[in-house]
């Protein structure tokens, strides 16, 4: 009998078709761009794709703007002009905010994090085509005047202790840009999003109803995870000696320098920091990397709302007590 039940079945099938084709409720939009010298991926969840798209565009535009402001590779950036100026320098609110945060972490870490290593980084030229191992004398010259006190803030002015100091915000600017991008997404009314700038991650809300799962790259085994963290509304930044380096006479020279010696820091393979904002996490990861597992872990444990995972140079894992592992 071809009765009413068949009509019902057909309607159910059509409903099933619609249900399959349209993902219920939220959808995810993900876009990538090459900004801040790295690959940036922004993901956002929401009902309105156009809203997501325009918010992501704005976030990328903000990161591009901040790059032009804070990069030490762009000769016309505010940071380059600050490096070249001898007097007091009137800076933008963003630069002031960032240097102020960086100074706190520099002091807290006894100078392990340092924003005045511009000359030293230029000397090693790790990020160029011709990196080199400089002499002790060259390093001593490049380290003149560096330290937490090297940059003084006075309202909207920055004062350098020595006129020749070169500012480099490499260990904090990327995290700051990630935070600002995420703030724009939040301001656009998005409640669930992530910004990932080459491993510097900031999270807004959760991943569509569950925590975000963040894989931590193993420092020695490419493609393998060290751990997976379950996080919401947090920032995660990893620093490692495997990111940018060159080898000479069998020694690996990487991009994270110890301000005390002027050499690449030797005590860690990688440091991952979880904090409320990516700028702090970025700077703290660099600081802990320089300090080494024991002192670094101590620093991270002292700070409220900060967790971390450190891999020492012998491969041993050190982690803070409250690290939210998912394994």
């Amino acid at each position: 009998m071809f009765g009413r039940q068949w009509v019902t079945l057909l309607l159910v099938l059509i409903a099933a078709l619609l249900w399959w084709r349209l993902p219920p409720g939220e959808q995810q939009l993900s876009r990538t761009a090459l900004v801040m010298g790295t690959l940036v991926e922004i993901k956002a969840f929401g009902d309105d794709e156009e809203q997501l798209d325009s918010a992501i565009s704005k976030a990328f535009a903000e990161m591009t703007r901040l790059e032009a402001l804070l990069s030490s590779h762009q000769p016309k950036s505010e940071i380059s002009r600050l490096s070249n100026s001898a007097d007091e320098f009137v800076a933008s609110p963003e630069t002031i905010e960032l240097i102020s945060l960086g100074r706190k972490i520099a002091e807290r870490s006894n100078g392990a994090f340092d924003m005045t290593l511009g000359a030293l980084k230029k000397l090693w030229a790790i990020e160029s085509e011709n990196p080199q191992v400089p002499s002790e004398e060259q390093i001593a010259v490049a380290l003149q005047g560096v330290g937490p006190e090297a940059l003084q803030l006075d309202g909207n002015r920055v004062r350098k202790k020595l006129p020749g100091l070169q500012v480099d915000l490499g260990g904090i600017a990327k995290g700051y840009a990630v935070d600002r991008a995420l703030a724009l997404l939040r301001a656009a009314g998005i409640t669930s999003a992530s910004v990932n700038a080459g491993g510097d991650i900031a999270l807004l809300g959760d991943h569509d109803g569950r925590p975000w799962r963040i894989g931590i790259q193993h420092p020695r085994k490419s493609g393998e995870l060290l751990a997976a963290l379950e996080l919401s509304d947090r920032a995660v930044v990893s620093s490692g000696d495997y990111e940018r380096f060159f080898e000479q006479d069998g020694i690996r020279y990487h991009h994270i320098f110890d301000p005390r010696s002027g050499q690449p820091a030797r005590l860690c393979q990688s440091v991952t920091v979880v904090a409320a904002d990516a700028a702090s996490a970025d700077a703290l990861a660099t600081a802990a990397f320089v300090l080494g597992p024991e002192e670094g872990l101590q620093l991270l444990e002292q700070l409220p709302d900060v967790e971390g995972l450190i891999i020492a140079n012998n491969g041993k894992e050190w982690q803070t007590s409250g690290l939210p592992q998912s394994q």
């Binding site: 057909l10 099938l13 059509i14 078709l17 084709r21």
Partner: protein, 190 residues
């Protein structure tokens, strides 16, 4: 000379030629019309032209079905300017398998099968032929099988629709003096 002197067999043949030409022309028109409709899903075609092929099948038999469909695909593609393009190959392979299945089901199951049943067979054959050619020539990627459920559902709906319209058309035509055979056919069923 008067018309009364015309041989009734010759008259019937002429009549058939005229109506076949009409069916083909209408099929081409529907084929073109459907191509002009805005279609967000290029793979889903209702296949309105199959209505004419079905009608021809039930009036004149399997040979008429083949003539209408093949002529429709060739002339229609010529009109649309996509003859021998990938879109044409899809349309042609789909049409070929559809016509084959329609002819077979008609041969095997007549008189139990009606226009809707034949139309459903045609719709299934159409997607089958299209997917086969798409698989062989164009995508060669297993993801097209993901679309199979949607294609089948669409075949069910479009096949049903075309079959019903064809049945309605056949019923309307059966009242026309030119289709004596149809009247007897519907009388038998009725």
């Amino acid at each position: 000379m008067t018309s009364s002197a015309v041989d009734p067999v010759a008259l019937e043949q002429t009549r058939q030629r005229v109506f076949m030409a009409l069916f083909i022309a209408l099929a081409v028109a529907l084929h073109t019309f459907e191509a002009l409709l805005p279609n967000p899903l290029p793979w889903f075609r209702i296949g309105l032209a199959n209505i004419m092929a079905l009608t021809a099948l039930f009036i004149y038999g399997v040979q008429a079905l083949w003539i209408v469909n093949m002529a429709r695909i060739l002339v229609g593609s010529l009109l649309l300017g996509n003859l021998f393009s990938p879109a044409f190959l899809l349309s042609f392979s789909g049409g070929l398998l559809a016509t084959l299945l329609m002819g077979l089901s008609f041969r095997l199951f007549r008189p139990k099968i009606g226009p809707v049943g034949v139309s459903l067979c045609g719709a299934v054959g159409h997607i089958g032929g299209q997917m086969l050619i798409a698989w062989l020539l164009i995508v060669r990627h297993p993801s097209i099988w993901m679309m199979l459920p949607f294609f089948l559902l669409f075949a069910l709906i479009s096949g049903m629709l075309n079959g019903l319209v064809a049945d309605y058309l056949l019923e309307a035509l059966s009242g026309h003096p030119a289709f004596g055979r149809l009247r007897t056919m519907f009388a038998k069923q009725g």
